[in-house]
Symmetry: C2
Subunit: 287 residues, 2 copies
DNA sequence: CGTTAGCTTGAGTCAATTCAACAGCTGTGG
DNA sequence: CCACAGCTGTTGAATTGACTCAAGCTAACG
Protein backbone atom coordinates (compact mmCIF):
# COMPACT_ATOMS: atom_id res chain seq x y z
CA UNK A 1 0.00 0.00 0.00
CA UNK A 2 2.55 2.53 1.07
CA UNK A 3 6.03 2.64 -0.34
CA UNK A 4 8.51 0.33 1.24
CA UNK A 5 11.17 1.58 3.54
CA UNK A 6 13.76 1.41 0.82
CA UNK A 7 13.88 5.14 0.78
CA UNK A 8 14.94 5.11 4.40
CA UNK A 9 18.29 3.79 3.33
CA UNK A 10 18.82 6.61 0.86
CA UNK A 11 21.11 9.50 1.49
CA UNK A 12 19.96 12.14 3.91
CA UNK A 13 16.92 10.18 4.94
CA UNK A 14 16.40 11.15 8.56
CA UNK A 15 14.77 9.29 11.40
CA UNK A 16 13.31 5.84 11.72
CA UNK A 17 16.44 4.59 10.11
CA UNK A 18 18.15 3.56 13.28
CA UNK A 19 16.75 1.25 15.91
CA UNK A 20 18.83 3.13 18.47
CA UNK A 21 16.26 5.45 20.01
CA UNK A 22 17.54 8.51 21.73
CA UNK A 23 15.11 8.38 24.58
CA UNK A 24 14.05 5.21 26.25
CA UNK A 25 15.45 2.27 28.12
CA UNK A 26 14.75 -1.39 28.33
CA UNK A 27 12.64 -2.80 31.11
CA UNK A 28 10.80 -6.04 30.93
CA UNK A 29 11.87 -6.26 27.33
CA UNK A 30 10.18 -2.99 26.45
CA UNK A 31 11.15 0.59 26.06
CA UNK A 32 10.17 3.13 28.65
CA UNK A 33 10.78 6.84 29.09
CA UNK A 34 10.74 8.94 32.19
CA UNK A 35 9.10 12.31 32.62
CA UNK A 36 12.27 14.23 31.90
CA UNK A 37 12.69 12.55 28.55
CA UNK A 38 9.08 13.17 27.67
CA UNK A 39 9.43 16.86 28.47
CA UNK A 40 12.64 17.13 26.50
CA UNK A 41 10.90 15.59 23.55
CA UNK A 42 8.16 18.18 23.78
CA UNK A 43 10.63 21.03 24.23
CA UNK A 44 9.14 21.83 27.57
CA UNK A 45 11.65 23.22 30.06
CA UNK A 46 11.23 20.85 32.94
CA UNK A 47 12.75 21.87 36.25
CA UNK A 48 12.02 18.68 38.00
CA UNK A 49 12.76 18.17 41.62
CA UNK A 50 11.56 14.64 41.51
CA UNK A 51 12.97 11.18 41.22
CA UNK A 52 13.04 10.94 37.47
CA UNK A 53 12.77 7.25 36.99
CA UNK A 54 9.90 6.91 39.39
CA UNK A 55 7.24 7.14 36.73
CA UNK A 56 7.87 5.65 33.37
CA UNK A 57 5.93 5.75 30.16
CA UNK A 58 5.81 2.82 27.85
CA UNK A 59 6.76 2.91 24.19
CA UNK A 60 4.96 1.21 21.34
CA UNK A 61 6.16 0.57 17.82
CA UNK A 62 4.11 0.87 14.68
CA UNK A 63 5.04 -0.32 11.23
CA UNK A 64 4.57 1.67 8.07
CA UNK A 65 0.91 1.81 7.18
CA UNK A 66 -0.36 0.82 10.60
CA UNK A 67 -3.04 2.86 12.28
CA UNK A 68 -2.29 4.30 15.71
CA UNK A 69 -5.91 5.16 16.34
CA UNK A 70 -9.00 5.39 14.19
CA UNK A 71 -11.96 7.74 14.05
CA UNK A 72 -14.60 6.96 16.61
CA UNK A 73 -12.39 4.68 18.64
CA UNK A 74 -12.73 5.28 22.39
CA UNK A 75 -10.11 7.68 23.64
CA UNK A 76 -7.93 6.88 26.58
CA UNK A 77 -4.36 7.69 25.69
CA UNK A 78 -2.26 10.40 24.14
CA UNK A 79 0.87 9.62 22.14
CA UNK A 80 4.16 11.40 21.69
CA UNK A 81 6.21 10.68 18.61
CA UNK A 82 9.67 9.55 19.59
CA UNK A 83 10.75 8.68 16.08
CA UNK A 84 9.18 8.17 12.69
CA UNK A 85 6.62 9.99 10.59
CA UNK A 86 2.85 9.87 10.55
CA UNK A 87 -0.16 11.54 9.08
CA UNK A 88 -3.45 12.35 10.74
CA UNK A 89 -6.53 12.37 8.57
CA UNK A 90 -10.20 13.14 8.64
CA UNK A 91 -12.44 10.93 6.51
CA UNK A 92 -15.51 12.40 4.88
CA UNK A 93 -18.79 10.69 4.19
CA UNK A 94 -17.46 9.30 0.90
CA UNK A 95 -14.32 7.85 2.36
CA UNK A 96 -12.10 10.62 1.05
CA UNK A 97 -9.14 11.40 3.23
CA UNK A 98 -8.31 14.91 4.31
CA UNK A 99 -4.83 15.14 5.75
CA UNK A 100 -4.66 17.33 8.85
CA UNK A 101 -1.04 17.08 9.88
CA UNK A 102 2.19 15.18 9.50
CA UNK A 103 3.29 14.50 13.07
CA UNK A 104 6.93 13.76 13.68
CA UNK A 105 9.36 13.60 16.56
CA UNK A 106 8.14 15.63 19.50
CA UNK A 107 4.56 15.97 18.33
CA UNK A 108 1.59 14.84 20.34
CA UNK A 109 -1.22 12.72 18.97
CA UNK A 110 -4.72 12.11 20.14
CA UNK A 111 -5.56 15.43 21.75
CA UNK A 112 -8.69 15.67 19.62
CA UNK A 113 -10.10 12.70 21.49
CA UNK A 114 -10.27 14.36 24.88
CA UNK A 115 -13.43 16.32 24.32
CA UNK A 116 -15.78 13.65 23.05
CA UNK A 117 -13.86 10.76 24.60
CA UNK A 118 -13.46 9.38 21.09
CA UNK A 119 -10.72 10.13 18.61
CA UNK A 120 -12.06 12.40 15.92
CA UNK A 121 -9.21 11.74 13.53
CA UNK A 122 -7.13 8.84 12.37
CA UNK A 123 -3.36 8.57 12.74
CA UNK A 124 -1.39 6.46 10.27
CA UNK A 125 2.32 5.64 10.33
CA UNK A 126 4.13 6.80 7.18
CA UNK A 127 7.27 5.06 8.33
CA UNK A 128 8.12 2.69 11.13
CA UNK A 129 7.45 4.64 14.29
CA UNK A 130 8.22 4.61 17.96
CA UNK A 131 5.58 6.31 20.09
CA UNK A 132 5.36 6.96 23.80
CA UNK A 133 2.06 6.15 25.45
CA UNK A 134 0.57 8.68 27.81
CA UNK A 135 -2.53 7.23 29.43
CA UNK A 136 -4.70 10.29 29.82
CA UNK A 137 -6.10 9.52 33.26
CA UNK A 138 -2.68 8.78 34.60
CA UNK A 139 -1.42 11.96 33.02
CA UNK A 140 -4.01 14.25 34.57
CA UNK A 141 -3.54 12.60 37.92
CA UNK A 142 0.16 13.23 37.69
CA UNK A 143 -0.50 16.77 36.56
CA UNK A 144 -2.06 17.49 39.91
CA UNK A 145 1.15 16.48 41.65
CA UNK A 146 3.67 17.87 39.20
CA UNK A 147 2.67 21.33 38.16
CA UNK A 148 5.15 21.40 35.30
CA UNK A 149 3.41 18.46 33.73
CA UNK A 150 0.09 20.21 33.81
CA UNK A 151 1.63 23.27 32.21
CA UNK A 152 3.15 21.05 29.61
CA UNK A 153 -0.26 19.72 28.72
CA UNK A 154 -1.80 23.14 28.39
CA UNK A 155 1.22 24.36 26.49
CA UNK A 156 1.18 21.53 23.99
CA UNK A 157 -2.54 21.80 23.38
CA UNK A 158 -2.29 25.54 22.94
CA UNK A 159 0.65 25.14 20.59
CA UNK A 160 -1.34 22.70 18.53
CA UNK A 161 -4.20 25.16 18.38
CA UNK A 162 -1.94 27.95 17.18
CA UNK A 163 -0.51 25.64 14.56
CA UNK A 164 -3.97 24.87 13.27
CA UNK A 165 -4.88 28.52 13.24
CA UNK A 166 -1.87 29.21 11.07
CA UNK A 167 -3.01 26.39 8.82
CA UNK A 168 -6.44 27.93 8.48
CA UNK A 169 -4.86 31.26 7.67
CA UNK A 170 -2.75 29.62 5.02
CA UNK A 171 -5.59 27.72 3.41
CA UNK A 172 -7.79 30.77 3.47
CA UNK A 173 -5.39 33.32 2.09
CA UNK A 174 -2.46 31.87 0.15
CA UNK A 175 -1.99 30.77 -3.43
CA UNK A 176 -0.96 27.27 -4.38
CA UNK A 177 2.68 28.25 -4.84
CA UNK A 178 2.83 30.01 -1.51
CA UNK A 179 1.30 27.01 0.26
CA UNK A 180 3.76 24.58 -1.24
CA UNK A 181 6.63 26.96 -0.52
CA UNK A 182 5.66 27.33 3.12
CA UNK A 183 5.11 23.65 3.44
CA UNK A 184 8.67 23.01 2.33
CA UNK A 185 10.03 25.67 4.65
CA UNK A 186 8.14 24.33 7.63
CA UNK A 187 9.35 20.83 6.86
CA UNK A 188 12.92 22.10 6.61
CA UNK A 189 12.52 23.87 9.94
CA UNK A 190 11.20 20.73 11.55
CA UNK A 191 14.11 18.72 10.26
CA UNK A 192 16.56 21.32 11.47
CA UNK A 193 14.88 21.24 14.86
CA UNK A 194 15.35 17.50 14.97
CA UNK A 195 19.01 17.83 14.12
CA UNK A 196 18.76 16.72 10.51
CA UNK A 197 19.71 18.63 7.42
CA UNK A 198 17.24 21.32 6.51
CA UNK A 199 18.81 21.62 3.06
CA UNK A 200 18.27 18.12 1.80
CA UNK A 201 15.63 15.71 2.95
CA UNK A 202 13.18 13.09 1.85
CA UNK A 203 9.47 13.65 1.86
CA UNK A 204 7.67 10.94 3.72
CA UNK A 205 4.36 11.51 2.02
CA UNK A 206 2.98 11.21 -1.50
CA UNK A 207 2.04 14.18 -3.67
CA UNK A 208 -1.52 13.18 -3.08
CA UNK A 209 -1.11 13.49 0.68
CA UNK A 210 0.67 16.81 0.37
CA UNK A 211 -2.10 18.04 -1.87
CA UNK A 212 -4.74 16.94 0.57
CA UNK A 213 -2.89 18.66 3.38
CA UNK A 214 -2.56 21.90 1.43
CA UNK A 215 -5.99 21.86 -0.15
CA UNK A 216 -4.60 21.23 -3.64
CA UNK A 217 -4.57 18.42 -6.17
CA UNK A 218 -1.55 16.20 -6.53
CA UNK A 219 -0.99 17.56 -10.03
CA UNK A 220 -0.77 21.10 -8.73
CA UNK A 221 1.72 20.04 -6.09
CA UNK A 222 3.81 18.23 -8.66
CA UNK A 223 3.72 21.14 -11.07
CA UNK A 224 4.59 23.63 -8.37
CA UNK A 225 7.57 21.61 -7.24
CA UNK A 226 8.72 21.36 -10.84
CA UNK A 227 8.33 25.12 -11.21
CA UNK A 228 10.35 25.79 -8.07
CA UNK A 229 12.96 23.46 -9.42
CA UNK A 230 13.15 25.33 -12.71
CA UNK A 231 13.45 28.68 -10.98
CA UNK A 232 16.23 27.25 -8.89
CA UNK A 233 14.51 27.53 -5.54
CA UNK A 234 14.77 23.81 -4.89
CA UNK A 235 15.90 20.58 -6.45
CA UNK A 236 13.45 17.75 -6.84
CA UNK A 237 14.07 14.10 -7.44
CA UNK A 238 11.02 12.09 -6.57
CA UNK A 239 10.81 12.45 -2.82
CA UNK A 240 14.21 13.93 -2.32
CA UNK A 241 14.00 17.68 -1.91
CA UNK A 242 16.95 20.05 -1.81
CA UNK A 243 16.30 23.55 -0.52
CA UNK A 244 18.31 26.06 -2.52
CA UNK A 245 16.77 29.38 -1.57
CA UNK A 246 14.94 29.17 1.72
CA UNK A 247 14.46 32.94 1.91
CA UNK A 248 12.69 33.11 -1.40
CA UNK A 249 10.44 30.24 -0.38
CA UNK A 250 9.57 31.93 2.89
CA UNK A 251 8.60 35.22 1.31
CA UNK A 252 6.84 33.83 -1.73
CA UNK A 253 3.27 35.11 -1.73
CA UNK A 254 0.10 35.47 -3.60
CA UNK A 255 -0.24 38.55 -5.70
CA UNK A 256 -1.50 41.12 -3.18
CA UNK A 257 -4.73 39.57 -1.90
CA UNK A 258 -7.51 41.81 -3.11
CA UNK A 259 -8.31 44.78 -0.98
CA UNK A 260 -4.82 45.24 0.33
CA UNK A 261 -3.63 48.66 1.21
CA UNK A 262 -1.11 48.84 -1.58
CA UNK A 263 -2.42 51.52 -3.96
CA UNK A 264 0.15 50.92 -6.68
CA UNK A 265 -1.20 48.54 -9.30
CA UNK A 266 2.26 48.38 -10.81
CA UNK A 267 3.75 46.57 -7.85
CA UNK A 268 1.57 43.55 -8.40
CA UNK A 269 3.41 41.58 -11.01
CA UNK A 270 6.64 42.21 -9.21
CA UNK A 271 5.44 40.91 -5.88
CA UNK A 272 4.10 37.79 -7.51
CA UNK A 273 7.50 36.48 -8.39
CA UNK A 274 9.99 35.24 -5.90
CA UNK A 275 12.16 38.09 -4.70
CA UNK A 276 15.25 36.48 -6.13
CA UNK A 277 17.49 39.43 -5.43
CA UNK A 278 20.49 37.17 -5.13
CA UNK A 279 21.51 35.06 -8.11
CA UNK A 280 18.83 32.38 -8.35
CA UNK A 281 20.73 29.12 -8.27
CA UNK A 282 22.99 29.19 -5.30
CA UNK A 283 24.31 25.79 -4.52
CA UNK A 284 24.37 24.80 -0.90
CA UNK A 285 26.52 22.09 0.53
CA UNK A 286 23.90 19.60 1.59
CA UNK A 287 23.89 16.71 4.07
CA UNK B 1 -16.58 51.58 11.49
CA UNK B 2 -18.84 48.68 12.18
CA UNK B 3 -22.57 48.81 11.71
CA UNK B 4 -24.55 50.24 14.52
CA UNK B 5 -26.60 48.11 16.78
CA UNK B 6 -29.79 49.07 15.02
CA UNK B 7 -30.01 45.59 13.65
CA UNK B 8 -30.17 44.25 17.16
CA UNK B 9 -33.64 45.65 17.46
CA UNK B 10 -34.89 43.79 14.43
CA UNK B 11 -37.07 40.76 14.55
CA UNK B 12 -35.44 37.53 15.66
CA UNK B 13 -32.20 39.25 16.44
CA UNK B 14 -30.74 37.16 19.22
CA UNK B 15 -28.41 38.05 22.02
CA UNK B 16 -26.85 41.24 23.17
CA UNK B 17 -30.26 42.75 22.90
CA UNK B 18 -31.17 42.47 26.53
CA UNK B 19 -29.14 43.84 29.38
CA UNK B 20 -30.60 41.09 31.53
CA UNK B 21 -27.80 38.57 31.53
CA UNK B 22 -28.68 35.02 32.35
CA UNK B 23 -25.59 34.36 34.37
CA UNK B 24 -24.10 36.85 36.75
CA UNK B 25 -24.93 38.84 39.83
CA UNK B 26 -24.12 42.23 41.13
CA UNK B 27 -21.35 42.73 43.61
CA UNK B 28 -19.46 45.91 44.13
CA UNK B 29 -21.37 47.31 41.19
CA UNK B 30 -20.04 44.63 38.87
CA UNK B 31 -21.20 41.34 37.51
CA UNK B 32 -19.74 38.10 38.75
CA UNK B 33 -20.35 34.47 38.00
CA UNK B 34 -19.68 31.40 40.07
CA UNK B 35 -18.12 28.17 38.87
CA UNK B 36 -21.44 26.48 38.28
CA UNK B 37 -22.57 29.21 35.94
CA UNK B 38 -19.30 29.11 34.07
CA UNK B 39 -19.60 25.38 33.59
CA UNK B 40 -23.18 25.67 32.45
CA UNK B 41 -22.12 28.21 29.87
CA UNK B 42 -19.51 25.83 28.55
CA UNK B 43 -21.93 22.91 28.56
CA UNK B 44 -19.73 21.05 30.98
CA UNK B 45 -21.61 18.78 33.32
CA UNK B 46 -20.44 20.00 36.70
CA UNK B 47 -21.17 17.80 39.66
CA UNK B 48 -19.92 20.23 42.22
CA UNK B 49 -19.72 19.39 45.84
CA UNK B 50 -18.48 22.81 46.69
CA UNK B 51 -19.80 26.05 47.98
CA UNK B 52 -20.74 27.59 44.69
CA UNK B 53 -20.45 31.25 45.50
CA UNK B 54 -17.10 30.83 47.12
CA UNK B 55 -15.14 31.67 44.01
CA UNK B 56 -16.48 34.21 41.63
CA UNK B 57 -15.34 35.31 38.21
CA UNK B 58 -15.65 38.87 37.14
CA UNK B 59 -17.45 40.03 34.01
CA UNK B 60 -16.29 42.71 31.59
CA UNK B 61 -18.26 44.48 28.93
CA UNK B 62 -17.01 45.38 25.47
CA UNK B 63 -18.68 47.68 23.00
CA UNK B 64 -19.04 46.95 19.31
CA UNK B 65 -15.70 47.32 17.61
CA UNK B 66 -13.63 47.10 20.77
CA UNK B 67 -10.70 44.72 20.95
CA UNK B 68 -10.67 42.14 23.72
CA UNK B 69 -7.05 41.27 23.14
CA UNK B 70 -4.56 41.96 20.39
CA UNK B 71 -1.80 39.96 18.75
CA UNK B 72 1.38 39.90 20.74
CA UNK B 73 -0.21 41.23 23.88
CA UNK B 74 0.98 39.37 27.00
CA UNK B 75 -1.37 36.56 27.90
CA UNK B 76 -2.78 36.19 31.34
CA UNK B 77 -6.47 35.58 31.08
CA UNK B 78 -8.98 33.48 29.21
CA UNK B 79 -12.46 34.76 28.40
CA UNK B 80 -15.82 33.10 28.15
CA UNK B 81 -18.52 34.75 26.07
CA UNK B 82 -21.61 35.28 28.16
CA UNK B 83 -23.44 37.29 25.53
CA UNK B 84 -22.71 39.03 22.27
CA UNK B 85 -20.76 38.20 19.14
CA UNK B 86 -17.11 38.51 18.26
CA UNK B 87 -14.58 37.60 15.66
CA UNK B 88 -11.03 36.42 16.10
CA UNK B 89 -8.52 37.31 13.43
CA UNK B 90 -4.98 36.73 12.36
CA UNK B 91 -3.19 39.64 10.69
CA UNK B 92 -0.63 38.96 8.00
CA UNK B 93 2.48 40.93 7.19
CA UNK B 94 0.48 43.33 5.00
CA UNK B 95 -2.19 44.05 7.56
CA UNK B 96 -4.78 41.82 5.93
CA UNK B 97 -7.20 40.21 8.31
CA UNK B 98 -7.88 36.51 8.25
CA UNK B 99 -10.94 35.63 10.27
CA UNK B 100 -10.48 32.49 12.35
CA UNK B 101 -13.75 32.20 14.22
CA UNK B 102 -16.90 33.95 15.28
CA UNK B 103 -17.12 33.25 19.01
CA UNK B 104 -20.49 33.55 20.69
CA UNK B 105 -22.17 32.58 23.90
CA UNK B 106 -20.37 29.71 25.59
CA UNK B 107 -17.18 29.98 23.57
CA UNK B 108 -13.80 30.47 25.10
CA UNK B 109 -11.31 33.07 23.96
CA UNK B 110 -7.59 33.40 24.42
CA UNK B 111 -6.54 29.76 24.51
CA UNK B 112 -4.01 30.43 21.77
CA UNK B 113 -2.08 32.62 24.18
CA UNK B 114 -1.18 29.88 26.63
CA UNK B 115 1.67 28.39 24.69
CA UNK B 116 3.76 31.45 23.95
CA UNK B 117 2.37 33.52 26.80
CA UNK B 118 1.22 36.02 24.21
CA UNK B 119 -2.05 36.06 22.34
CA UNK B 120 -1.46 34.95 18.77
CA UNK B 121 -4.77 36.27 17.51
CA UNK B 122 -6.94 39.29 17.96
CA UNK B 123 -10.51 39.25 19.28
CA UNK B 124 -12.92 42.00 18.24
CA UNK B 125 -16.46 42.56 19.45
CA UNK B 126 -19.00 42.49 16.59
CA UNK B 127 -21.73 43.55 18.99
CA UNK B 128 -21.82 44.73 22.55
CA UNK B 129 -20.50 41.83 24.57
CA UNK B 130 -20.39 40.55 28.08
CA UNK B 131 -17.40 38.35 28.81
CA UNK B 132 -16.34 36.45 31.89
CA UNK B 133 -12.72 36.78 32.91
CA UNK B 134 -10.81 33.65 33.81
CA UNK B 135 -7.36 34.61 35.08
CA UNK B 136 -5.27 31.71 33.85
CA UNK B 137 -3.06 31.29 36.89
CA UNK B 138 -6.06 31.36 39.18
CA UNK B 139 -7.78 28.88 36.94
CA UNK B 140 -4.99 26.32 36.90
CA UNK B 141 -4.59 26.67 40.64
CA UNK B 142 -8.28 25.99 41.06
CA UNK B 143 -8.03 23.12 38.65
CA UNK B 144 -5.76 21.34 41.06
CA UNK B 145 -8.43 21.52 43.75
CA UNK B 146 -11.51 20.97 41.64
CA UNK B 147 -10.94 18.14 39.24
CA UNK B 148 -14.01 18.99 37.21
CA UNK B 149 -12.56 22.36 36.41
CA UNK B 150 -9.39 20.82 35.10
CA UNK B 151 -11.40 18.46 32.94
CA UNK B 152 -13.39 21.40 31.72
CA UNK B 153 -10.22 23.09 30.57
CA UNK B 154 -8.95 20.07 28.70
CA UNK B 155 -12.38 19.47 27.26
CA UNK B 156 -12.80 23.00 25.98
CA UNK B 157 -9.36 23.12 24.46
CA UNK B 158 -9.86 19.78 22.80
CA UNK B 159 -13.24 20.85 21.50
CA UNK B 160 -11.68 23.95 20.01
CA UNK B 161 -9.05 21.81 18.36
CA UNK B 162 -11.64 19.54 16.82
CA UNK B 163 -13.54 22.55 15.57
CA UNK B 164 -10.44 23.87 13.87
CA UNK B 165 -9.72 20.49 12.35
CA UNK B 166 -13.18 20.50 10.84
CA UNK B 167 -12.47 23.98 9.52
CA UNK B 168 -9.26 22.80 7.88
CA UNK B 169 -11.13 19.91 6.33
CA UNK B 170 -13.74 22.28 5.00
CA UNK B 171 -11.24 24.74 3.55
CA UNK B 172 -9.23 21.96 2.03
CA UNK B 173 -11.97 19.97 0.42
CA UNK B 174 -15.19 21.86 -0.15
CA UNK B 175 -16.42 24.14 -2.91
CA UNK B 176 -17.50 27.71 -2.31
CA UNK B 177 -21.18 26.77 -2.24
CA UNK B 178 -20.62 23.95 0.20
CA UNK B 179 -18.64 26.20 2.51
CA UNK B 180 -21.28 28.87 2.58
CA UNK B 181 -23.99 26.27 3.05
CA UNK B 182 -22.23 24.66 5.99
CA UNK B 183 -21.47 28.02 7.47
CA UNK B 184 -25.17 28.85 7.49
CA UNK B 185 -26.05 25.48 8.96
CA UNK B 186 -23.47 25.76 11.70
CA UNK B 187 -24.71 29.23 12.53
CA UNK B 188 -28.26 27.96 12.68
CA UNK B 189 -27.17 25.15 14.98
CA UNK B 190 -25.39 27.57 17.25
CA UNK B 191 -28.45 29.77 17.47
CA UNK B 192 -30.65 26.79 18.21
CA UNK B 193 -28.22 25.74 20.92
CA UNK B 194 -28.52 29.17 22.47
CA UNK B 195 -32.27 28.98 22.42
CA UNK B 196 -32.84 31.28 19.49
CA UNK B 197 -34.56 30.55 16.22
CA UNK B 198 -32.47 28.50 13.86
CA UNK B 199 -34.78 29.35 11.00
CA UNK B 200 -34.45 33.10 10.97
CA UNK B 201 -31.53 35.08 12.24
CA UNK B 202 -29.31 38.03 11.61
CA UNK B 203 -25.72 37.70 10.56
CA UNK B 204 -23.43 39.64 12.81
CA UNK B 205 -20.63 39.90 10.32
CA UNK B 206 -20.08 41.47 6.92
CA UNK B 207 -19.78 39.54 3.68
CA UNK B 208 -16.16 40.42 3.74
CA UNK B 209 -15.68 38.79 7.13
CA UNK B 210 -17.60 35.71 6.08
CA UNK B 211 -15.48 35.51 2.97
CA UNK B 212 -12.30 35.78 4.96
CA UNK B 213 -13.52 33.10 7.33
CA UNK B 214 -14.40 30.74 4.48
CA UNK B 215 -11.44 31.50 2.28
CA UNK B 216 -13.58 33.26 -0.33
CA UNK B 217 -14.10 36.78 -1.61
CA UNK B 218 -17.04 38.83 -0.46
CA UNK B 219 -18.42 38.76 -4.00
CA UNK B 220 -18.48 34.99 -4.03
CA UNK B 221 -20.24 34.93 -0.69
CA UNK B 222 -22.80 37.41 -1.92
CA UNK B 223 -23.38 35.55 -5.15
CA UNK B 224 -23.70 32.23 -3.37
CA UNK B 225 -26.26 33.57 -0.94
CA UNK B 226 -28.20 35.02 -3.86
CA UNK B 227 -28.05 31.66 -5.61
CA UNK B 228 -29.31 29.81 -2.53
CA UNK B 229 -32.08 32.35 -2.32
CA UNK B 230 -33.10 31.74 -5.93
CA UNK B 231 -33.09 27.98 -5.47
CA UNK B 232 -35.27 28.43 -2.44
CA UNK B 233 -32.83 27.08 0.11
CA UNK B 234 -32.81 30.32 2.06
CA UNK B 235 -34.15 33.83 2.05
CA UNK B 236 -31.75 36.74 2.14
CA UNK B 237 -32.35 40.32 3.04
CA UNK B 238 -29.11 42.02 3.83
CA UNK B 239 -28.04 40.39 7.07
CA UNK B 240 -31.31 38.67 7.77
CA UNK B 241 -31.14 35.04 6.77
CA UNK B 242 -34.06 32.64 6.69
CA UNK B 243 -33.27 28.96 6.48
CA UNK B 244 -35.78 27.20 4.23
CA UNK B 245 -34.17 23.84 3.55
CA UNK B 246 -31.62 22.98 6.19
CA UNK B 247 -31.26 19.42 4.94
CA UNK B 248 -30.29 20.50 1.45
CA UNK B 249 -27.77 22.94 2.88
CA UNK B 250 -26.24 20.26 5.06
CA UNK B 251 -25.76 17.79 2.25
CA UNK B 252 -24.72 20.25 -0.43
CA UNK B 253 -21.28 19.23 -1.70
CA UNK B 254 -18.63 19.67 -4.24
CA UNK B 255 -18.83 17.47 -7.27
CA UNK B 256 -17.03 14.29 -6.11
CA UNK B 257 -13.52 15.44 -5.30
CA UNK B 258 -11.28 13.94 -7.93
CA UNK B 259 -9.98 10.50 -7.24
CA UNK B 260 -12.99 9.40 -5.22
CA UNK B 261 -13.80 5.76 -5.10
CA UNK B 262 -17.04 6.17 -7.03
CA UNK B 263 -16.44 4.43 -10.36
CA UNK B 264 -19.57 5.71 -12.02
CA UNK B 265 -18.83 8.86 -13.97
CA UNK B 266 -22.55 9.31 -14.50
CA UNK B 267 -23.26 10.00 -10.86
CA UNK B 268 -21.16 13.13 -10.86
CA UNK B 269 -23.46 15.79 -12.20
CA UNK B 270 -26.28 14.44 -10.09
CA UNK B 271 -24.35 14.62 -6.86
CA UNK B 272 -23.30 18.15 -7.61
CA UNK B 273 -26.74 19.54 -7.10
CA UNK B 274 -28.51 19.64 -3.80
CA UNK B 275 -30.24 16.32 -3.26
CA UNK B 276 -33.62 17.96 -3.36
CA UNK B 277 -35.53 14.74 -3.23
CA UNK B 278 -38.43 16.56 -1.67
CA UNK B 279 -39.94 19.48 -3.56
CA UNK B 280 -37.25 22.16 -3.46
CA UNK B 281 -39.02 25.09 -1.92
CA UNK B 282 -40.53 23.84 1.26
CA UNK B 283 -41.62 26.70 3.43
CA UNK B 284 -40.89 26.40 7.08
CA UNK B 285 -42.70 28.30 9.73
CA UNK B 286 -40.02 30.61 10.93
CA UNK B 287 -39.54 32.46 14.23
C1' DC C 1 -28.26 65.70 1.74
C1' DG C 2 -24.00 64.27 0.53
C1' DT C 3 -20.78 60.66 2.07
C1' DT C 4 -19.48 56.26 3.19
C1' DA C 5 -19.66 51.37 4.13
C1' DG C 6 -21.86 47.38 2.83
C1' DC C 7 -24.12 44.58 -0.64
C1' DT C 8 -25.38 43.05 -5.28
C1' DT C 9 -24.61 42.00 -9.97
C1' DG C 10 -22.21 41.70 -14.49
C1' DA C 11 -18.27 40.77 -17.55
C1' DG C 12 -13.88 39.11 -18.37
C1' DT C 13 -9.76 36.68 -16.65
C1' DC C 14 -6.86 33.40 -14.70
C1' DA C 15 -5.31 29.96 -11.37
C1' DA C 16 -6.15 25.58 -10.31
C1' DT C 17 -8.67 21.68 -11.54
C1' DT C 18 -10.07 17.82 -14.47
C1' DC C 19 -8.97 14.63 -17.86
C1' DA C 20 -5.52 12.13 -20.08
C1' DA C 21 -1.26 10.05 -21.47
C1' DC C 22 3.07 8.35 -20.20
C1' DA C 23 7.36 7.16 -17.60
C1' DG C 24 9.68 5.01 -13.55
C1' DC C 25 9.84 1.77 -9.91
C1' DT C 26 8.32 -2.30 -7.12
C1' DG C 27 6.53 -6.46 -6.27
C1' DT C 28 4.31 -10.53 -8.17
C1' DG C 29 3.76 -14.62 -10.50
C1' DG C 30 4.20 -17.54 -14.36
C1' DC D 1 13.96 -13.92 -15.40
C1' DC D 2 10.82 -11.23 -17.60
C1' DA D 3 6.13 -9.67 -18.26
C1' DC D 4 2.59 -7.49 -15.98
C1' DA D 5 -0.08 -4.90 -12.64
C1' DG D 6 -0.21 -0.95 -9.51
C1' DC D 7 1.14 2.89 -7.52
C1' DT D 8 3.68 7.23 -7.89
C1' DG D 9 5.01 11.10 -10.22
C1' DT D 10 5.30 14.17 -14.33
C1' DT D 11 3.50 16.81 -17.96
C1' DG D 12 0.11 18.59 -21.48
C1' DA D 13 -4.44 20.36 -22.96
C1' DA D 14 -8.84 21.89 -22.03
C1' DT D 15 -12.21 23.42 -18.70
C1' DT D 16 -14.13 25.99 -15.11
C1' DG D 17 -14.85 27.89 -10.50
C1' DA D 18 -13.67 31.61 -8.17
C1' DC D 19 -11.45 35.92 -8.58
C1' DT D 20 -10.68 40.72 -10.22
C1' DC D 21 -12.44 44.77 -11.85
C1' DA D 22 -16.19 47.74 -12.26
C1' DA D 23 -20.65 49.85 -11.83
C1' DG D 24 -24.64 50.80 -9.30
C1' DC D 25 -27.82 50.41 -5.36
C1' DT D 26 -29.23 50.78 -0.35
C1' DA D 27 -29.06 52.13 4.28
C1' DA D 28 -27.08 54.72 7.90
C1' DC D 29 -24.69 58.78 9.56
C1' DG D 30 -22.94 63.35 10.27
Amino acid sequence: MLPTQMSEARAAAPAAQSPALEAGRQRQGRLWSNLKEVCDLLHIPAAFSMNADELLFQHVQFKTGQRVHTIGQPFDTLYIVNSGFLKTVLIDEFGNEQVLSFPMKGDMLGVDGIHSRHYSSEAVALSDCDLILLPFKKLTALGRVHVELEHMMYGVMSRELVREQAMIGMLGALSAEARVARFLVSLADRFAQMGYSSKLFNLRMTRHEIGSYLGLTLETVSRTLSAFNEIGLITVDQRTIGIKDAEALKTLRRLPPSRSRSKSPASRKAAAEAPAAAPPVQLVAAV
